[in-house]
Symmetry: C2
């Protein structure tokens, strides 16, 4: 694997989270903060297992909450392709937050971003993906009374007015340093982070008073919110807080699951046969030969199959630990471990797909446009 | 006077139009083209006197018109302050074009631009100026059935979707070279030209077929449309054509009339006393002493008072020539020439102000928002 690179548009290499925490200046979720979250979220798998492991100002948001100053949630999706398993994990956690805190959620579909950053995508493409992706978002089970989804293009009248307030405080120097733009970057890309900043204070604009905002997202999006956290206080708003998760790996090695590599990605619309085929072809932490694996044991730390159990498909900590032990002890071979995963993933997506179809009827309850 | 500088945001120095034509790559309106315009516009003062003197592709637009392919008009206003006399001249000509060609007009109020480029202006400021400016626009007499005015912020849903199509084809290099941006420019400024490009092809988007667009504007806005002319063919649209006018000078020396220098600016809401006072205090092409002026004559070429006669207040060519002769021959002193101008300007603005008040009732007929 090559060197790690983590930007909002590219995640490659073996991920060293310690290094990311240091580089980005994130905080790890402390035992005290975990205990406080547990009061509301219960014994949450994503917190307990350190999948949502990092944050900015989560302590502030929780303190405000306990003083009666409720926060709202903001998360998003770049509609550059079909939804896959990697997207669902932060969304599932976001739903758990919504339920636990009865929090309003703004869900941004950044169709403009994907159009501007992907040379091959047309407006029609990103608008089509937005509609498709929205079905998956709804299928996760967000509360329609507490959730507003919108696309940047469809909600541009509201967003543009606020985005230029942000843009006025961001120089090209800053955008260049944070996002790596150069002279050949198109001017839409350069402007874009202003639009991604808006939902982080939009509720404060609407309500005419400061409302704390908590953004659950994967670590790669941090760059946008680092900039937003610099600018928003200049406009009189709170810095947005965040709770950040690790990447869901693809079925290949390193990086994160990505729609641009369909062979190593489980899409939400994959049928049971496809799921089986993909899992069976997956990279694992196994050894070259069965003998070697029996002797040295497998390596769950680099194994996507193990991580899927950890992230979603083995909620029982004891059983997960047993699986890990069996793997490392050379007792559980990869083929068997994959075969045990297949029906769990199939069942999960069969259910998701049912909810996804039902979602078509309630799109209007979620989608906001101006 | 210092060196000439002409950008969309700054016009200073003594203007050398020959140099601008060469630098920008404009065409002068040829005698043949003047003759063709005359068929429709009549013996138009602004054409005849070379006030609208430059163009891009006006010949193309006229040829298409004569083949039955009608063009539409697009012009605009940056609402950074109150409207003044300098704004009205291109608008009056635009109305004459609208009447002669029965042309649809899109009138863009670039509130976003002024907010982004002027550190001291708030959104509330530019939105207030947009409303005020719109009254002056309507007062010029545009046909409500053929005219759509909009502010960039108020019409952002329509504009943003198209602006990002433009932005995708403009690099920071280009924006830097054309507009002089640097690393400290804010990212909203950098993006802005994409928004100004949209009305130049919006009718083609709406009608689903290519419609020629003619943009009457002052020479300083050319930079935006040079960029738009590069990009629009890449999106499948015509290059926008333009017809460009010289600057209306302020009552000081050089540059153009500017709201940021109120003492040398006649605002559309100035009362008769203020108008008289400002004109009497104006810079002229006169000499240091009466004796010297009688001997050497005045210099109408650098005199704003003479130019106001030429641009608007002396429609009779013979009388204008007599005035010029008397000035150059040392027979007409500046004080007298100013006194003769005062009642004409007062009358013009008294009438304008009446129409401006009536405009309040019909704002809804003109203003488009989404």
């Amino acid at each position: 694997m090559g060197e790690m690179k983590v930007t909002p548009w590219e995640v490659i290499g073996d991920i060293d989270y310690g290094k990311l925490v240091e580089e980005f200046g994130l905080s790890e979720i402390s035992p005290e903060l975990k205990a406080k979250l547990k009061k509301y979220l219960g014994d949450n798998l994503f917190i307990r297992r350190g999948i949502f492991a990092f944050h900015r100002d989560l302590d502030f948001v929780m303190n405000e909450y306990e003083k009666g100053n409720k926060f709202y949630l903001y998360t998003g999706r770049g509609p550059s392709g079909h939804t896959h398993m990697g997207h669902l994990i932060p969304w599932i956690f976001t739903k758990q937050l919504q339920d636990a805190f009865k929090a309003k959620l703004l869900f941004q579909l950044t169709d403009d971003e994907k159009f501007l950053f992907r040379p091959e995508l047309t407006l029609e493409d990103v608008e089509k993906f937005s509609k498709e992706n929205l079905l998956d978002i709804i299928a996760v089970g967000f509360d329609p009374k507490l959730t507003e989804a919108f696309t940047d293009i469809g909600y541009a009248k509201t967003l543009y007015r606020e985005a230029i307030r942000v843009a006025k405080h961001i120089t090209f120097s800053t955008a260049k340093a944070v996002f790596g733009y150069d002279n050949e970057s198109n001017i839409g890309k350069i402007f874009f982070t202003s639009v991604q900043a808006v939902p982080a204070f939009l509720e404060s604009v609407r309500r005419g008073k400061n409302v704390p905002c908590l953004i659950p997202h994967a670590v790669d999006q941090d760059a946008h919110f680092r900039v937003a956290r610099d600018v928003l206080p200049k406009l009189g708003y709170y810095k947005p807080a965040s709770i950040q998760c690790k990447f869901v790996p693809g079925l290949g090695r390193g990086g994160k699951m990505s729609a641009s590599e369909p062979a190593t990605t489980i899409f939400t619309t994959d049928d049971s046969k496809t799921i089986e085929k993909k899992i069976k072809s997956s990279f694992t932490g196994g050894r070259e030969t069965t003998e070697e694996q029996k002797k040295k044991g497998g390596q769950p730390g680099i194994c996507p199959i193990y991580m899927y159990y950890e992230f979603l498909f083995e909620p029982d900590d004891k059983k997960l630990a047993e699986r890990k032990g069996a793997c490392k002890g050379g007792k559980l071979m990869c083929g068997e471990c994959k075969l045990q995963l297949v029906p769990r993933v199939q069942k999960f997506f069969e259910e998701h797909q049912k909810k996804r179809e039902q979602a078509r009827k309630v799109v209007d309850k979620f989608l906001k446009a101006d």
